[in-house]
């Protein structure tokens, strides 16, 4: 048997296959289709301080090889999470990582602090990249100073593994990855969705009630892969790869680009058991290629000779 274990900061995952925030509920939604306990981790739907109703409908639009969403962090708030959801998570033998969001710095800090007390939650993912809320989210994640500030503030109160989720809607991923590292993050995860838009030509209206939404799915994979590769070469903390993964090959590509673990988002909607299929595909690949540990894949990319002569320097 190949060794599948990977480390994200102090946190050990039994394998690198995890599910992305907002795309897997809190796990139970998928329990009819697969064994949740086989996952390396589950990243929960965003948790905010208060109950949030999210944005008006329509919140979804299909696009070529992808989709837009403008859910807008709908969730019942951190108290509900602690009292109603957290207790049910113990039934699964996997790691749950809470996706922490907020509209203000204080909200982020408060939620992180509350979750720090939960023994069964060994890590949070700080979501400073949601493009679907007026305040917070991407507004923090696309400004270097705000990003550093919120990460530092959360770092002060949060003593377990702190993962910062980066926005792709920036000029320089290396700059934001470094900001996260310097501000005390134990890992970065990327990408969140790309700010995008769909229009109904016949009705001459935007499809989404919020006009813009976040693009996810296979369409964004090439962009995500580039950003993960850039982040890997810019920081010394682990990188978690996200964006359009729907096959073992996709997952392996992200690990070769430098990801220590990967998250599967939109693909769950199309194939509810896709995460287990990806895990099995990775195992078959490792055996076929004679690797003894999945960690040997991380950043294991043979670079074409002299490629640096041809591309703009981004890190």
């Amino acid at each position: 048997m190949v060794d599948l274990q990977v480390n994200i900061g102090a946190l050990s995952l039994k394998n690198p296959v995890t599910t992305a925030s907002g795309c897997f509920g809190y796990g139970s939604e998928y329990s009819d289709f697969m064994d949740i306990s086989r996952l390396g981790a589950v990243f929960t739907k965003a948790v905010t301080k208060e109950n949030r109703e999210g944005n008006p409908s329509p919140r979804m639009a299909e696009t070529p090889s992808g989709m837009l969403n403008s859910v807008g962090l709908q969730n019942k708030g951190v108290e509900y999470f602690i009292s109603h959801i957290y207790p049910s998570l113990h039934q699964y033998d996997t790691v749950f990582i809470a996706n922490v969001s907020g509209s203000t710095l204080d909200e982020y800090v408060e939620v992180a602090e509350r979750i720090n007390d939960l023994e069964g939650i060994p890590a949070i993912e700080l979501n400073i990249s949601c493009p679907n809320v007026k305040k917070g989210g991407m507004v923090f994640g696309t400004n270097g100073e705000s990003a550093a500030e919120v990460i530092r503030a959360v770092r002060k109160v949060y003593r377990k593994t702190l993962i910062v989720k980066l926005s792709p809607n920036v000029t320089s991923i290396p700059a934001f990855a470094k900001t996260a590292e310097d501000a005390g993050a134990d890992a970065v995860s990327l990408i969140n969705t790309i700010l995008a838009m769909a229009i109904d030509a016949e009705k001459r209206k935007p499809v989404l009630a919020t006009v813009t939404g976040g693009l996810s799915g296979p369409a964004v994979k090439p962009v995500a892969l580039r950003m993960v590769w850039e982040a890997y070469h810019s920081v010394n903390i682990p990188v978690i790869g996200i964006g359009g993964i729907r096959s073992a090959s996709d997952a392996i590509e992200f690990m070769l680009a430098g990801a220590t673990a990967i998250q599967i988002g939109t693909a769950n909607f199309v194939e509810p058991a896709v995460s287990v299929q990806v895990l099995e595909g990775i195992m078959a690949y490792l055996e076929r290629h004679g690797f003894s540990s999945v960690r040997e894949l991380i950043g294991n990319l043979e670079m074409p000779e002299g490629f640096e002569r041809f591309r703009p320097k981004t890190f």
Binding site: G54, S57, R59
Partner: protein, 255 residues
């Protein structure tokens, strides 16, 4: 709760009703789980990845003995067009059964009012009502005669009234103008179709103070309550059309 399944069905029939509608017949190797009227399935249209997402389609009919289900589908875009080209012998992957079904309530006489492809869930609903000893009355609206198809399966269950917008068949106009709405005495009504139609039906039901359930459409990505895309605001907060619906009691809606 019935466990949701993901399963490859065998296409055993694909029958064109008219230029817009067709009926797919699908067979399972296994006995079917309980399927209630108003529930739906998420169909994987294509394995090449385009369209990318699954398509939600209601159960039109269920034959438990043959392990067969039937779907009534209207061709509107790329996904339903690809479904229309399925041939017997092909397979179709489905996640099912999904959603909160129509509710059975006290009373005897029920109006089942539907427009266009909103007719789809009404056959199973009519049959279930009839089996429970109730009397379903169907009121269906079409654009014109060309859209109308063989309704004998409905006629076997109860009276069927028809309206067409151009008057080419049945009563001219929308179903909301049909006299049965005034003259008929119902203990409740069920509706599926364009939103303005359902709202009008809901208003009439409200006026008569009778039970009314509607099946709502919404853009769905997952169909199982995971993505929170199909939000429906209600009196009791934000609900998800795919798990809390698609059937809602109109009293709950902020209409």
């Amino acid at each position: 709760m019935v466990k949701k399944k993901i399963e490859d069905f065998l296409v055993t029939g694909n029958h064109r009703l008219n230029t817009e509608y067709f009926v797919l017949t699908l067979r399972s190797e296994h006995s079917l789980p309980a399927i209630f009227p108003g529930q739906f399935a998420e169909l994987r249209v294509d394995h090449a990845g385009n369209p990318f997402l699954r398509r939600p389609i209601s159960f039109f009919d269920v034959d438990r003995e043959q392990h067969e289900i039937r779907l009534l589908i209207q061709e509107v875009g790329a996904g339903t067009q690809q479904l229309s080209m399925l041939d017997p012998g092909d397979t179709l992957n489905m996640i099912y059964p999904l959603g909160h079904p129509f509710t059975m309530v006290e009373g005897k006489d029920f109006l089942l009012a539907a427009g266009g492809v909103g007719i789809a869930p009404m056959l199973l609903l009519g049959r279930t009502l009839k089996q429970a000893g109730k009397r379903p009355v169907f009121l269906f609206g079409f654009r014109s005669e060309e859209q109308v198809f063989d309704l004998s399966a409905f006629e076997a269950l109860g009276e069927v009234y028809i309206t067409t917008e151009d008057g080419s068949m049945g009563k001219k106009g929308m179903i909301t103008g049909h006299p049965i709405l005034e003259t008929g005495i119902f203990d409740g009504c069920y509706s599926c179709g364009p939103e303005p139609m359902m709202k009008a039906i809901a208003k009439i039901a409200d006026g008569k103070d009778i039970f009314c359930e509607v099946s709502l459409e919404n853009m769905m990505a997952c169909g199982i309550g995971a993505c929170l895309c199909c939000a429906q605001p209600t009196l009791h907060g934000m609900k998800m059309a795919c798990v809390d619906g698609p059937v809602f009691n109109t009293k709950e809606l902020l209409w």
